[in-house]
Every structure is written in structure tokens, then in C-alpha cells.
Amino acid sequence: MAMEFLRPATWDEALAAKAEHPGALPISGGTDVMVEINFDATRPEYLLDLTRIEELTDWSADGERLRIGAGVTYTSLIADLADRLPGLAMASRTVGSPQIRNRGTVAGNLGSASPAGDAHPPLLADDAVVEAHSARGVRHIPITEFYTGVKRNALEPDELIAAVLVPPADGPQQFAKIGTRNAMVISVTAFGLALHPSTGTVGAAFGSAAPTPRRATKAEQFLAAELTESGRWDSRAELDPAAVTRFGALVAEAATPIDDVRGTADYRTHALSVMARRTLVWAWTDYRRKRVRTCA
């Protein structure tokens, strides 16, 4: 079976093509899709190349959120948005290699919806919204509803990811990832943390430790309550070590990892609790040290 290649020049053409060929596989940087094709793991009838659509490579401020076009590469995200989206930028720096970052995109991570995608934990921690377009219209999918299973997402067959909407950091953010080498490594497990002083909430999420990227809701709620009730959002007092430990334990509790070639389930759970504790301490130290913007 031959594969056909669709190369729309405009977004409208792309949406029309996707409507006509719902099985078409969108490709941009190709860093995920091409691996599947080269391994013969996927034989799509149509490939829908989005690289000609220039507007996808733009980012902009969209009301209270930053709108990151689906074609924005990790390299430009690191260069342009590290101050406003520090968690996502930290995660982006750990993606693949310089060449992969030159071409890979956050939207690609979302499209593949691999539990190991590096961008997922910060997107979850920061309440991102996926902007999906189709010939039928525009749909905003909250990130928590986006991941539906292993390598599955909430997109309809005729939908394409146009952009990701992410609120700029209103507090410190952190990201940590376990890999068994120092470059070009897929995460054994990864953790993203965002403190939201403006709303008194906490975002905490992990990858590679459940069928989908996942938020550690109980841990988020526990920490938010702890910070609010103790008045620490305002006092910026040192964290209670017991609370840090509890936060780590709750993050680990939320995980349902498996044993695989990259690591064991028990190790992943253990590592998550360590990363959760450490990133919390770093984020809080940041918060105590400087006046972090408290509004978007």
C-alpha cells in the first residue's frame, strides 16, 4: 500500500484534508512519527504535512494565556518563552538532542500522547488547554481531559491541534526527569510542579508512571491546603519538612507504573517521591527568595 503525502499550504486546506481523510497522520517535526514509519510500526494511508503552514510556528499572548502554535519547536520555546513558561522550558531542554529540539514540537508530544512525552507534566501542572480545530469549528480541551489512554488522546478523527494555551507562570515552576544517561534519553519517569500563588493552588503531574501522563490531584490539594492554612503563601515561611515528605508520598501514591526496559515500577514510584520533594523545596526557595509575579 502506497502512502500518500498531503501538503496543505494553508490551515483551511489542512482542516479540509483532515476532514476528507480522517485517518491521515499529521506530521510536523517528524521526530516521533518518522520513527514509527521507519520501524514500520505505522503505515498510514495519508501523511498530512503541516510544515508549510507558517502561522503554526507563531506564539502570542492570547488574553490571560500564551498561545503556542502547533509548529513552535522546542528550540524556539526555550529561546523565547523560558521566562514565562519555566517549567515547560526546563522540560524542553531535556528533549532528545539539539537536532530533535530544532524540529520537535509540544503539539507533536500531544499528538503522540506517549506517557513518556517530556512536555506533558508541565502542561498538566500549568492547566494548559489544547486548541483543536476541525472544519466543523474550534474546540478547547482542558489538558486533564486530553489524555485518554496509552498513546491515545481526545482528538476527534477530523481534528488537528492548532495550538496549546498555557497561562504564564504566576509562581515558581520546576521540572525533573529521570534518565539513565545524560543526553538523548527517554524518561524513566518525570515530574512537573507549578505553584500558583495567585490562586493559592498547586499543579503537580508526572509522566511514565501510569498509562497516561497524570496529575497527582491529592498531592496538589494537600499542598495547596497546607500552604493556605498555614498562611505560608503570604508569610513565605520555610516549609514544614513533614509536609514536604507527605507531598512526595502523595505524588508517589498517584502513580501506577509498570516494569519495563527503562525501569522498574518500584523504582519509578520511589523516584517520583524524591523528585516531588526536591522540586517542591527548590520551587519554595525560589518563592521565598524573590518576588515572583503573583498575577498573570
Partner: protein
């Protein structure tokens, strides 16, 4: 030739680029411009592409193979199975036990079953998928210990599952000691992971024979096996070396050679085969996984009294070089130490795991992890410095190995250890004040897992021993043809051997030897092929020794002829003449002729088959002078370990090695860097994970080799203690650095963590203690 006149003149400098210098490598321009033709770059008009069907099961019986649909596919020219092999359907380096195409029995996942030639690689792959094989799937035998000791286990080959058992017995088997340490150790299956996957081009010839252009380590052993498989004499099976994208042992066995030849002969068209990375993991042998039990007994002052060891090497489905791997692990099993009482039992076994064979340092690498871990354990038990316990037992020239062989050249074990110990240490991060410290230099690097929390530094030492060249009475030789003639007014030497350049720089060394021996600047290295006698294998750290020896010997004969000729013309005794920088020099240091004038229009050619001194088989107690030469390297590793997360960063890796004579100092250091990096990989990341006989990670996504951010800077100290038995006094260089690097790094991790690490590669969960 004009009559030479005696002229007083300055002899001038030696010819540049001779032995002991680091001239530019002759293939360098082609390699940096992308013009160097690797085997994967070969191309002929009208050529077909071959593809291979491999068994998805590690153990099965083939009931039937239906190729109907594959044959019918448009663009397919041939589909071959075991029935189509004209000669013997078996190959192997020492034991021909591996089918070229599986007949009725499947012994490992990835075993070749059928091959296809088509006009497009994609067509060939699709046709492969249309071949229907009916398998009766069996339970695989995957536990090597079961293969040795369980007599009820199914025999995978005639003669049972123990391919070789080599006992070494020396001294008193009942010796006792004050201090005894036990240990059980495991080494995972490492892959050579050369960067250029297997590939080659087979071209049918008009004489009914075949020409194969191939990336290999040993043209003649390929040829010998191909003749048997194809049922053809050697003059019909001609091999030429194509560009080799790394080897490290993985190209010592056949991969696609026979398949491409069969398809080319069947179709009458050139056939190219080129493995993907995934197929490469199934297409070549790997490093033997090992299970080792050691018991070391010592006096209270740290002198070894006895060593007992059992080493089980999993050879997987076929023999490959397992017998030689067993010999190395057994004979070098106690390491570079003097021990009076030794009892080693080493087994190489068949299982349904992937076949294992040659990889850099084979046998010695596995044993070194065992004996060096034991030396550290002994140091702990004695509360002694780990270098001290080693130097107290250090092997030296004149000492006796457990095989009874006396070490008859330099064995600077103590000196190498002291040298690495004396090298400057890198600065240590101050955990309480990391302001300004580049956090990316901590374990976890850019992944931001620590800002100093849990990080501890450790230092570890190890030393290893390796035999150089082939052992146990093997007729190990190389052939060199050297020609000298005048070309464009200059004397030009041409060196022709079948020895495989695989990246190590053999072509440079050959040029250097010819320059030094013949005093000519221009030396052409002919492409290697089977048109000249065997060069032997590019393995066992032997090529500079043996092919270097052959080139030297051939040059010496050419030189003698030039001098005889000059003597005749000059009417002087040849014994009073010598060659220097293109000139004939008399006993009283006067230039009496130019080489170009002596040569005139004549071409002088000499071909020499050169052997190192003989070795001998081992007797039933593992006694005998089995090895030609021993080589030694020591490492010191400095690591930072995040003890809570189990992540390791090797901060510095230092090495001291005795190379006898640094033929090309830069190339020597390059070997030490590269070999050390492969040892680092085995220490902390590299393993083919096999479960139930199935490979779980056949890709570079999940088989991790060190990146530049994993491999730290090295301090390297090269000793040159000449071996009087070897050409130029040289000692094989390639393997020793791979051997001691792994145990040194693990020792450093133990030092940092206190964890009892008994398996490599060390995984994070081994350090954290989580299951």
C-alpha cells in the same frame, strides 16, 4: 644507472611519519569529506536488494515454509530457504554449527529462515512478510546454569549444552586462609553497537564465482566459510574490504555475507544487503553474559592464598567464538595477581538466548568485573586501601600465571596502579554551597534531578590483564606484500595485506612501518582483499603486532634486496650498507647512492607470511603456555552519585597502560579513550535485555551507549616497556582499556554509596535498593 659517487653530505633528518610519530591517517580526507565508501554506500546499476526473514521465536521447530505469495510479488527475483543452499548449510568460526538458513530447528529469536532479493528494498521487506512459516513453538532454554548442571534440560546441539568446560588447577586445592571473601557477580549482555550496520554487496562474476564487497574483521575466515556454504573453491569466492563503520568484535562472524552471495548467484545480479539498526541487534553476536562465583582467601596482611572461581558464560544458540572466550575468562580469571593456589572452572554453554561471541576484551572483561570486585571486598575485609591490596599481590615479570606460564616480559601492574593513583583529582562540588556550580555537571545533568541533594563522590580503582593475539596453539599469522619502485622520480613503497582497517588506524601504522624500514616517504596502502594471503583477524589486539610484524618483515626483505643491489653496483659488501631517508649509507656514514638510482626501473616485491612465536594448548588441568603476550591497563574512576535516585555521573576516568612501544601515540590514546568509554557503557547503562529468549530493546532508543555528556575527560599515562619478543617491542593496545574501566567505575559507585553492587550494568534501582 649512473655510477654512484661517494659524496660527503648531511644525512638529513629521518623520514617524517615513521614509527613512534602520529602522522595523519591516509583515509582521513575521505572520511571528513564524506567520500569514504562504507559498505552501505556501495552501488551498482541493476543491483537488487536483499532482505531476511527471521524467526520471532527463540525455540521452535519449523513445520513448513510457504513462499508462494512472496515469489509472486512484483519486483521479487528470488526467495531462498535452506533447501537452496548449494554447499553445507552450516557456518561458524571454529565450530560450524549455525545454519545459514534454518532448516527445521530454530534456536534463537532472530535466526534467519529465508531470504529475498527484489528490485527495491521496500519490496524485498514486504515479500519477506508474505512468507508463511508454520512454527511449532517450544519452551526456550534460557538459564545458562540450567544448561550446565541440569541433565534433564533439552540438548540444543549434539554433544549437549556445555560447549566448553575449562578447568584451571594449580597448587593446593584445599588451601585455607585467615581471611575469606565470597562473591557472586553477573555481567549483562553488551552489544558492540558499531555505528555502521551490517551491509555488503555481492556481485556474480563471469567465471561463475562471486565477488563480495564487505565490512568485516577477517576477510579470509569469511571466505573459508563462504566456500563451504557455496560449495566453491577459494579462487571463485573473492572478498574485498569495503569501508567499515566500526567493528569491536561484531564483524568477526558472518552476518549477511552468505545470504547476499546466495541471492546474487541465484539471480545473476548484484545484490546489496543492509541491516537496519533493529536487524543489526539480531544480526550479530554479542558479549557473553556471565555468572561468576568467586572465593578469595588471603593472609591478614593481604597476600592472596587462594582463589576459587566458577564462571559461566552464556554463549546463546551457536558456538561463535565461545571456546576462545572461555579460555580467556579461565586463564585470566584471577587477574594480574600472583596466586599459588587456583581452582577455576569456566563453562561456555548453549542456550536459546541470542548467540554471543567476540566483543573487545572478551572473557577478560567479564572475569575482571568478578576478580576486581573481589579485590575491593578483600580490601574492605582487611580494612586496607584498595590499591595497597592490589600492589601487594601484583603480578610482575618472571611471575607464574595460574596456567603455569611464566610472564616473560614487562608486567608493570604495581606501577600502573601507582601512576593512576598519583594523577590529580578533579575539584569536588561543595554540597553545602553550590552557588555558581553548573548543576548540569551533577548526576542527572540537564534533567534537573538534584541541586546537590544526595550527591556523594566516590573513587574506585581497577586493573586488568588481557592476552594479545590468538592463543592455545592457533596458527596465527599475517601476510604482507611490499613493493618498492620509482614513481615520478621518487621511491614509492606499496603495502598490500588482507588485514581489516576498522577505524583503529592500521593503515596509518602500516605506512609508518614502511617509512621507518625503507626510508621512503611515500607509502601507498593497497585496499585489503583476498588476493593476498590472510592477514588474520582484526581482533585480540593483534593487528599491529602480527600484520605490523608481517609488514616489517616484508620491508626488511625488500631493504635487503635494495642493499644487495646497491652493493653489487658499488662493489661494496652489503653488510656495510644501510638505508637512510632514501639514501644508501656506508659504514662510515657517507651517502653512497640514492635509492631511486639503485632501483632504476626495477620493481622489488617481497611477500612474507609472518608468525608470532608459537603458543600451546592447555592440558586437562588448564596448564600450558597458551598465550603470546599479556597486556595491562589500570583505571581510576571518580564518580558523583545521587544516592537517593541512584543516578551516576562519571566525573573523571583516568588510565595508565603499558603499550610496549607507542607506534602512533595519538592513535594509542584514541584507543584508550574509546575502549574506556565502552567499559563505562557496560558499567552504567549498556545491556541487551533478554527475557524468555526475547530481546526487549533492539534499538538505540533503549539500548543506551554513552553520549559525549556521559563520557568524562580522561588523563592518560602511556608506558613503553618494550616486549623483546614483539616487533618494535610493542604490546597490543585495543582491548586492555575496556577491561579495567568497568570495575573501576563500579568500585567508585560502591565507594560513594556503600551499596553491594554485584551486577553490571549498574541500574539506578540497584543503588537505591528499590526492587
Amino acid at each position: 644507472m649512473s655510477t654512484p659517487t661517494r659524496t660527503e653530505q648531511n644525512l638529513g633528518a629521518d623520514i617524517a611519519g615513521g614509527v613512534g610519530e602520529s602522522p595523519l591517517r591516509p583515509d582521513g580526507t575521505l572520511k571528513v569529506t564524506g567520500e569514504f565508501a562504507y559498505s552501505s554506500d556501495l552501488w551498482l546499476t541493476g543491483m537488487l536488494w536483499g532482505a531476511t526473514l527471521r524467526s520471532p521465536h527463540p525455540s521452535a521447530r519449523i513445520r513448513s515454509i510457504d513462499i508462494t505469495e512472496a515469489v509472486r510479488t512484483d519486483g521479487v527475483y528470488a526467495v531462498l530457504t535452506h533447501d537452496d543452499v548449494p554447499g553445507d548449510n552450516l557456518y561458524g568460526l571454529e565450530h560450524a554449527d549455525q545454519p545459514v538458513l534454518a532448516g527445521d530447528v530454530i534456536r534463537y529469536q532472530g535466526e534467519a529462515v529465508a531470504i529475498v532479493a527484489a528490485d527495491h528494498p521496500e519490496t524485498a521487506r514486504r515479500a519477506v512478510n508474505k512468507i508463511v512459516v508454520d512454527y511449532e513453538v517450544h519452551e526456550p532454554l534460557t538459564d545458562p546454569e540450567q544448561a550446565v548442571f541440569d541433565s534433564t534440560a533439552p540438548a540444543l546441539h549434539e554433544g549437549g549444552n556445555v560447549l566448553r568446560h575449562l578447568p584451571i588447577r594449580r597448587g593446593d586445592p584445599d588451601a585455607t586462609a585467615d581471611v575469606v571473601v565470597h562473591g557472586e557477580y553477573e555481567v549483562g549482555m553488551q552489544d558492540q553497537a558499531f555505528l555502521g550496520p551490517e551491509s555488503g554487496l555481492a556481485v556474480p562474476a563471469d567465471d561463475g564465482g562471486i565477488d563480495l564487497y564487505i565490512a568485516t574483521q577477517w576477510l579470509h575466515v569469511d571466505q573459508k566459510q563462504l566456500c563451504r556454504v557455496l560449495g566453491m573453491p577459494a579462487n571463485k569466492v573473492r572478498l574485498s574490504l569495503a569501508g567499515v563503520g566500526g567493528a569491536f568484535g561484531a564483524r568477526e562472524d558472518l552476518s549477511m555475507q552468505a545470504h547476499a552471495c546466495l541471492l546474487a548467484l541465484q539471480t545473476g545480479r548484484p545484490v546489496k544487503m543492509m541491516y537496519s539498526r533493529e536487524e543489526s541487534f539480531f544480526g550479530h553476536v554479542h558479549r557473553h553474559p556471565a555468572k561468576m562465583r568467586y572465593e578469595h582467601g588471603a593472609t591478614r596482611d593481604g597476600k592472596l592464598v587462594y582463589v576459587k572461581a566458577q564462571i559461566i558464560l552464556d554463549g546463546g544458540a551457536y558456538a561463535s567464538s565461545t571456546p576462545a572466550v572461555v579460555a580467556n575468562a579461565a586463564t585470566l580469571g584471577v587477574g594480574p595477581y600472583k596466586v599459588r593456589n587456583v581452582s577455576v572452572d569456566c563453562y561456555g554453554v548453549y542456550t536459546n538466548n541470542p548467540p554471543c561471541g567476540a566483543m573487545r576484551g572478551f572473557g577478560a572483561v567479564q572475569a575482571a568485573f568478578g576478580y576486581e570486585s573481589q579485590m575491593d571486598k578483600l580490601a574492605d575485609a582487611l580494612d586496607m586501601d584498595p590499591v595497597e591490596v592490589r600492589t601487594r599481590n601484583a603480578l610482575h615479570e618472571g611471575a607464574t600465571m595460574p596456567t603455569g606460564q611464566v610472564v616473560d616480559s614487562a608486567a608493570p601492574v604495581e606501577e600502573l596502579l601507582e601512576r593512576v593513583k598519583a594523577m590529580p583529582l578533579p575539584p569536588e562540588p561543595n554540597a553545602s554551597d553550590l552557588d555558581g556550580y553548573d548543576l548540569r555537571l551533577l548526576p542527572g545533568g540537564v534533567s534537573n534531578t538534584t541541586h546537590g541533594e544526595g550527591v556523594r563522590r566516590g573513587v574506585g580503582y581497577a586493573i586488568g590483564i588481557k592476552n594479545v593475539c590468538f592463543s592455545e596453539g592457533f596458527d596465527d599469522y599475517s601476510t604482507a606484500r611490499v613493493t618498492l619502485k620509482v614513481n615520478g622520480g621518487d621511491a614509492v613503497a606499496t603495502v598490500y595485506t588482507a588485514a581489516a582497517e576498522v577505524g583503529q588506524g592500521l593503515v596509518t601504522v602500516q605506512q609508518q612501518i614502511a617509512r621507518t624500514e625503507l626510508g621512503v616517504e611515500q607509502v601507498v596502502i593497497q585496499p585489503a582483499d583476498t588476493g593476498v594471503g590472510s592477514g588474520g583477524s582484526t581482533s585480540a589486539s593483534r593487528q599491529t603486532y602480527v600484520t605490523g610484524g608481517a609488514v616489517k618483515a616484508a620491508c626488511e626483505q625488500v631493504r635487503a634486496r635494495v642493499l644487495r643491489q646497491a652493493a653489487k653496483h658499488l662493489d661494496l659488501p652489503a653488510s656495510q650498507l644501510r638505508l637512510h631517508a632514501g639514501k644508501i649509507v656506508s659504514a662510515d656514514e657517507a651517502v653512497v647512492a640514492a635509492v631511486v638510482d639503485v632501483l632504476g626501473g626495477e620493481t622489488i616485491t617481497e611477500t612474507v607470511t609472518w608468525r608470532h612465536r608459537p603458543t600451546h594448548p592447555l592440558d586437562e588441568n588448564g596448564q600450558g603456555n597458551a598465550h603470546v603476550q599479556y597486556a595491562f591497563a589500570a583505571h581510576r574512576a571518580i564518580v558523583d552519585v545521587d544516592v537517593e535516585l541512584g543516578l551516576v555521573r562519571v566525573v573523571q576516568l583516568d588510565c595508565a597502560q603499558d603499550v610496549g612501544k607507542a607506534m602512533n601515540p595519538d592513535a594509542v590514546v584514541g584507543q584508550i579513550h574509546g575502549g574506556s568509554a565502552q567499559g563505562l557503557g557496560l558499567a552504567v547503562m549498556e545491556e541487551i535485555q533478554v527475557s524468555g529468549g526475547m530481546v526487549r530493546n533492539p534499538s538505540f532508543t533503549d539500548y543506551l551507549i554513552p553520549t559525549i555528556l556521559d563520557m568524562p575527560p580522561m588523563q592518560v599515562d602511556v608506558l613503553e616497556l618494550a616486549d623483546p619478543n614483539a616487533p618494535y617491542g610493542l604490546r597490543g593496545v585495543g582491548e586492555p582499556p575496556t577491561i579495567s574501566s568497568t570495575p573501576a567505575i563500579v568500585a567508585a559507585i560502591r565507594h560513594a554509596t556503600g551499596a553491594d553492587l554485584t551486577r553490571v550494568p549498574v541500574q539506578p534501582h540497584h543503588i537505591t535498593g528499590t526492587p
